[in-house]
């Protein structure tokens, strides 16, 4: 075959590919626009405890035998826990179940107006300890491993530091903020000279989900539009579209926050950095991270724009655990725990670390 005819074949093939994708884009684009919300959180589970904003799930086992120590995942208060269980094959919960873990998850619903007075005390001295007790009862085991994500990690840290007698076998913190003065843009926007958190909380009671979501989106203002352009270009690619839709749904379902909780986290954590300086007092107990002695794993993302690495970095040095490890992975705040990056990088590392310590 001559060079000229090979080149013609190549061009023909390329043109054909472009036409096929353009047709697919139009057909699937219409489906995309009219399709209902994608189903999420499909891994079978039971709701074993619910109280106001709190839900505790127990997932059905997917292996013939499980590790002795059950695992309790604590979700951040700003978002739904289905990020741990986006879709079959894209689910951290499903992965852990198949690896032989007995998985429990703390999820949050939007707080109701009468829950506007919830504080860190409620989350760390009531909700989490109660859930740990429920996990003990359900599993028949005394020990429990806790995995906290983002603010869920901070709540888990406060719980662990104020319950030194807790049956905590292992503690895993995923992108958990500790030094709140390294929060980047958040520190500028919530500058106490200009941000009147009292007025905000006193007026609204419950901080609306839109306000919370705006705070996230403003950090990467082009992300949403760029994502939409990318999905249009990839419309022919079913896997890409499926993944985009579940992430998009998760991003759109940000939760409102209890006003008092917002006031307390703003003043004590963001402004006064009391978790970092060990001056935080919750439920009459001083929160000293040095009092945490359970084996500790902290997983941080190199390109996390919401909780920058510098913000989580001091954690390992601050805890009193002797068995402790930090894993720094490529990726961002969400891609660390869900999506192809997590499947390849984070989940296997978590399984290896936790499996060794769950017998």
């Amino acid at each position: 075959m001559s060079d000229a005819s090979a080149s013609q074949d190549g061009l023909r093939q390329r043109a054909q590919g472009m036409i096929e994708r353009a047709i697919q884009r139009n057909i699937k684009g219409l489906e995309f626009i009219t399709a209902p919300k994608p189903p999420v959180g499909l891994t079978p589970k039971d709701v074993i405890y619910e109280r106001g904003t709190l839900r505790l799930y127990h997932y059905h086992a997917q292996s013939d035998e499980v590790y002795r120590v059950p695992v309790l995942l604590v979700m951040a208060t700003t978002n739904k826990a289905f990020v741990f269980d986006l879709a079959p094959g894209q689910s951290m919960v499903e992965f852990l179940l198949q690896k032989g873990f007995d998985v429990f998850v703390i999820d949050w619903e939007a707080p109701t107006p009468e829950e506007r007075g919830l504080t860190l005390e409620d989350y760390t001295q009531d909700f989490i300890p109660n859930c740990v007790r429920k996990v003990q009862q359900e599993s028949g085991e005394l020990d429990v491993s806790v995995i906290g994500y983002c603010m869920g990690g901070a709540l888990s840290l406060i719980y662990a530091a104020t319950h030194t007698e807790a049956p905590l076998k292992n503690l895993v913190c995923l992108t958990t903020p500790v030094d709140w003065h390294k929060m980047g843009l958040n520190n500028v926007w919530q500058d106490q000279r200009y941000f009147d958190v009292d007025r905000l909380v006193d007026t609204l009671g419950i901080i609306p989900a839109d306000f919370v979501a705006q705070g996230f989106e403003m950090q990467r203002p082009a992300q949403k539009l760029a994502g939409q352009v990318r999905v249009w270009e990839q419309m022919w690619n079913d896997e890409y579209v499926k993944s985009y839709r579940v992430f998009d749904r998760w991003g759109n379902e940000t939760l409102p926050l209890a006003g008092e909780y917002m006031r307390q986290t703003t003043k004590e954590l963001i402004w006064d950095n009391k978790l970092f300086t060990s001056e935080l007092v919750v439920g009459g107990k001083q929160v000293k991270l040095a009092s945490i002695t359970a084996p500790m794993l902290t997983v941080v993302a190199e390109h996390d724009h919401l909780v920058p690495y510098e913000c989580s970095k001091p954690l390992l040095e601050m805890v009193g655990s002797t068995d402790k490890e930090e894993i720094l992975l490529k990726g961002g705040h969400v891609s660390l725990i869900a999506g192809p990056n997590a499947v390849r990088r984070m989940w296997p590392r978590l399984d290896a670390w936790l499996g060794e310590r769950s017998i």
């Binding site: 003990q136 085991e141 005394l142 007026t203 009671g205 950090q219 990318r230």
Partner: protein, 132 residues
């Protein structure tokens, strides 16, 4: 002869989108990361909250004049129901706390597969020991 996948003509477009996104975000972050931006953003927010507060007062007054329950009245009602719920939960927790947590241990898992799984490293060690 191996069949090569057709070249992706959209690769340049994707790269362009990524570059635009990074450039725009970086520029926006520079602008929004200033003290001036923070001040004006928060001033705008205060203004909105002030208007919302005024509107709320106006509505409350009108509802009271019309002898109708206000939002605060309904929240108070929900709160008392919530209080009852929390009291029940506290009683439940206290009852559970009275049973020693060790009581649950030893009785084995209430349902599901046996809790006997070992990590791969322990299995490998076990089989090595077995061979000796």
């Amino acid at each position: 002869m191996s069949k090569e996948s057709p070249p992706d003509p959209a690769a340049n477009f994707r790269e362009m989108v990524t570059k635009w996104e990074r450039g725009f975000d970086s520029l926006a972050n520079q602008v929004m990361g200033t003290e001036g931006y923070s001040r004006s953003m928060n001033q705008m927010q205060d203004l909105q909250l002030g208007m919302q507060s005024m509107f709320k007062e106006f509505m409350t007054q009108n509802l009271t004049n019309a002898n109708m329950p206000t939002r605060d009245d309904l929240v108070r009602l929900a709160e008392s129901v919530g209080d009852l719920d929390r009291r029940m939960a506290r009683i439940e927790s206290l009852l559970e706390a009275m049973v020693p947590s060790n009581a649950a241990v030893g009785s084995g898992p209430r349902k599901g597969p046996p809790r006997t799984k070992k990590p791969p490293s322990a299995k490998a060690k076990g089989s090595k020991d077995g061979k000796k």
